[in-house]
Symmetry: C2
């Protein structure tokens, strides 16, 4: 096992490995070689073995990998078993859609609660998640110490809201606003879901003659 800094390229492939392995696992597949996984995923077997070697030795010569085992190892590397807890900031259509459709538990996140400013929403609950007033934010976070905030607020409040949450100790942001957030704290992470960027990439590709 090499012990070096793991590159972004590798990190970004991990969730995809996990998805494929989860799928194989659910289909009851017991073992898989880097070769056959590679052809499924359309990457080289070499790359898979190289990527995995950043984290340990999970296979066996002549056999390949045990699907259940590798799935859980990668899940572990990704922190799925850490019991992370998150809060949702902003329950507009998008926040609502995530609450209704997104399987947070499946990737090891528990949705503690949600916050909004709308009196119509405060006090109600969606999918067993209570929506609270934004005024309770400080007290709630101090009391319950969630790890991650999902930002589904309007653009213009994104950065101030992020700063407020960072001061309260939030360490990770799943950011759905189209704003690039920043902080000087090195242990705070932003993961941006830039819808616009992906649509523009598609636009680029279909626009070539």
């Amino acid at each position: 096992m090499k012990k070096q800094k793991v590159s972004d390229a590798v990190i970004h492939r991990l969730p995809r490995y996990y998805r494929y392995l989860d799928d194989l696992y659910n289909k009851g597949v017991v073992r898989i070689s880097s070769n056959s996984l590679g052809s499924k995923m359309d990457i080289t077997a070499s790359q898979i073995r190289q990527d995995l070697s950043c984290f340990g030795e999970f296979g066996q010569q002549g056999y390949g990998y045990n699907v259940a085992e590798l799935r859980s190892e990668i899940g572990h590397i990704l922190g799925i078993d850490k019991g992370h807890r998150l809060i949702i900031i902003g329950v507009g259509h998008l926040g609502h859609a995530l609450l209704q459709n997104f399987d947070f538990e499946k990737v090891g996140f528990h949705v503690d609660t949600a916050f909004d400013v709308s009196p119509d929403l405060i006090g109600t609950s969606i999918h067993a998640v209570t929506i609270r007033s934004m005024d309770e934010l400080e007290q709630y976070i101090v009391d319950y110490r969630p790890d991650v905030a999902v930002l589904t607020v309007p653009q213009h409040v994104a950065q101030p809201m992020a700063s407020r949450l960072i001061d309260l100790g939030i360490k990770g942001f799943w950011n759905f606003t189209n704003v690039e957030l920043s902080t000087d704290k090195p242990d705070v992470f932003f993961e941006d879901v830039h819808f616009v960027d992906t649509l523009l990439t598609l636009s680029y590709r279909i626009s070539r003659p």
Copy 2:
């Protein structure tokens, strides 16, 4: 101007360039050098110049780039001015959220119409977009020839729906299902928005000790 295949790395940076230039443009900034744009975006000036050189010469020695001009050039490269038209397949919470909040026009897409199976939705409209029955799909696409389909349908219908749309001539998919779609047609493009992957990447980062 070098004329080679443009790498994925470059293509994926284009939308971000566009966002920053659009922002500068809206702030009334007239000119910018690769150096100052680079420090804003936290990339090297060299990379910016190298990237742009794939598409032409947009700057001027001693001056830098005209913001309005570079913005529109990159918009052009991305196909923002192509008048692409799209249809939304599936108006659940997510489709609804996109219809209400996402500024398609800003990136040069016109939302023609939307489709769903729910009798409650069919015939209504959201943000001036009519929701039609899935039964009208064939006829509509044949008649109006939209370019792109936004897939916000349940997982298990994703691939069959994509195949059906590809047969009807849809060339681009903005895919919000967690399924990796495939086709043997080389001129069909999928742009996947894998929510799960980004949340897992965040999980990885905050899980490191």
